[in-house]
Every structure is written in structure tokens, then in C-alpha cells.
Symmetry: C2
Subunit: 153 residues, 2 copies
DNA sequence: GCTGAATAGAAATTCAAA
DNA sequence: TTTGAATTTCTATTCAGC
């Protein structure tokens, strides 16, 4: 049993059961034939970023902790990279193509950021139009998308 | 010093400092003139839903835990209640007015849910059009908004 | 109800080993 | 680098008192 396998199992167990202590988790692992000790589980929990929560009223349990400290711009950039399929500038507008059903997601984020170069956005299912005041402003937006899409990370 | 005041202070302290143990938190409170013991802090931490996290690499610290287990429909409902200002049915379409910049948020959620009664959505800054196949489908969507807006909670 | 002192219980670490 | 045994450290609870 490799460490990574054990840690995968731990994630599954805490997702499907209410585990209050490391001892409990240990027993569940042993039921599945995994041999380990509390010390090891403690290290696993740290590496997996699990936290003990007060599961709203009834008892504590371990859960996965996700840190949502992303800025709106971080979110926009990662969303652009994952859902935008094409982007084209047409005079004072940028026409962005996305995966089906994702245009509004981009729209919501762009509206949130309030780019000064964008005066309005209209989104359908898989297309969003970004309207600028001038061709120059539109060009800046086009370059923004170009930069984001070029980022490899 | 009332309990609620102490708990407010605790939130402030853990937001502005990296607190690794209850002892540490206790000292910070004492510096601010609050008299309490570890037992009390332990209870406060539970009530405030704080968790000990592995602050990405460098050390553990207490942070506020927010549970993001809302379904998309829960999110849509709460978003509708907070940003929709008007909704009207016009034949096979519903025209939804929102607070400025929030139309796309509604659009993204509706697209995500994939209502069978909605064949397409187009959102601008503060208006979103929900297009149905028939007047009857549009009526169902209208009633959905009606129900959500009527909910008092 | 809220709290502190003491204690039980749980989790992290040290140390040694493989 | 990963692990277990033992230990330390930290946290939750009990119990008494307010």
C-alpha cells in the first residue's frame, strides 16, 4: 500500500462517512485492509488539507478544506483558460466563443471587475460580446485575452 | 466582557494574526485585557466554526470555515432574491430585470441548471431574457420566479 | 445560561528505524 | 522519504460553582 493510495482512500472515507477522530478513521482503514497508525494518519490529514469542522449542530467531522481566497481576476483568468474557445476583435467589439453554457460565467466575472475599456457585455449560451467605446479600447481587451490564453500555468 | 464581545475579538485576532494554538489566542486576548481560559476559548472556537488549517506550507493557523455545500439551485434562489428587481412574461419569453451588473450571474446559474423549459438565455448588464419554446413553458418559468420571490426566508 | 480548574481525550512530534 | 512507538502538546469535556 503506497502512501498516495492510502491518502486517496482517506479522502473517500471522510467524504462518505462522518469521521470524528483519527482513531475512527484508522479503524475504517483497517476494515479496508490498510495497516497504519495514528501518527501516519495525522501526517496524511495535514498533507490532504483536511480540517475538523463542527458540522452544524451535530458533532464534529473531518472535511476537505478549500481555500477560496482567489481574487475575481484570478477566477476570470482561470475561467477564460478553461472555457474560452476563440476570441476575435471586430472594430469596437470583441466576440468571445466559449464552451456551451459558459458565456454567462465569463460575463458575470467581467461585469464584476468593471474594466474601463468595456462599456457593456451581452452573453448568450456560448458567445459573449464585449463592447468597447473605441477600436483602441477593444484592442486592449483583445490583448488581455491574448495574454491570458498564452499563459501556460 | 460579554461572550459575544469576546467572540468578536477572537474573529478579529485570527483574521489579523497567524494563531496556531488556543494558548496563543489566549495570550492575545489577555494582551487586550480579556480574562478567559483555554476551556472557554475551546468552546468559542467551536461556536464560531473556526478550523485549524495547514496554511499552505508554512505552519498551521485557525481560520474561519465556510461551508460551500449549496446546490446550484440554492444559489440561484438566493441570488434571485437578492438581485432580481422585476420579472415579466411576454409571450414565450421572460424578461428579468436585475441590479446593475448582475444579469450574467443569474444567466450563468440558469444555464448551469439547464431548465427544460428554457431553450436559451441572453444577458446584458441589468436585463436577462429567458427564451422558452412555448408560452406555456414561459408561464412555468414565470411561476418559478414568483415562488422564489414570495419565499420569505 | 457561562465559566475555570482539572482531567480525559485527541493529535502532532520526536526519535529511531527501514 | 516514509513509518510506528512513545511521548509531548494541544484541545474538548467533566464537574463544580456562579
Amino acid at each position: 500500500m503506497k502512501k498516495s493510495e492510502r491518502q486517496m482512500l482517506i479522502k473517500q472515507i471522510i467524504l462518505n462517512n462522518d469521521i470524528a477522530t483519527q482513531e475512527e478513521l484508522l479503524h475504517q482503514l483497517q476494515d479496508k485492509g490498510v495497516k497504519a497508525t495514528q501518527a501516519t494518519i495525522s501526517r496524511d490529514i495535514k498533507e490532504l488539507n483536511l480540517v475538523k469542522t463542527n458540522n452544524a449542530g451535530q458533532g464534529v467531522k473531518y472535511t476537505i478544506y478549500q481555500n477560496n481566497q482567489m481574487t475575481v481576476e484570478d477566477k476570470l483568468n482561470s475561467t477564460i483558460k478553461s472555457v474560452v474557445t476563440a476570441y476575435n476583435i471586430v472594430q469596437f467589439m470583441n466576440i468571445i466563443a466559449t464552451l456551451p453554457g459558459n458565456a454567462h460565467v465569463i460575463g458575470a466575472l467581467i461585469d464584476d471587475i468593471e474594466f474601463p475599456e468595456i462599456v457593456g457585455t451581452v452573453a448568450g449560451n456560448d458567445t459573449i460580446i464585449l463592447i468597447s467605446r473605441t477600436n483602441e479600447d477593444a484592442q486592449l481587451i483583445y490583448e488581455y485575452f491574448d495574454n491570458v490564453m498564452a499563459d501556460s500555468d
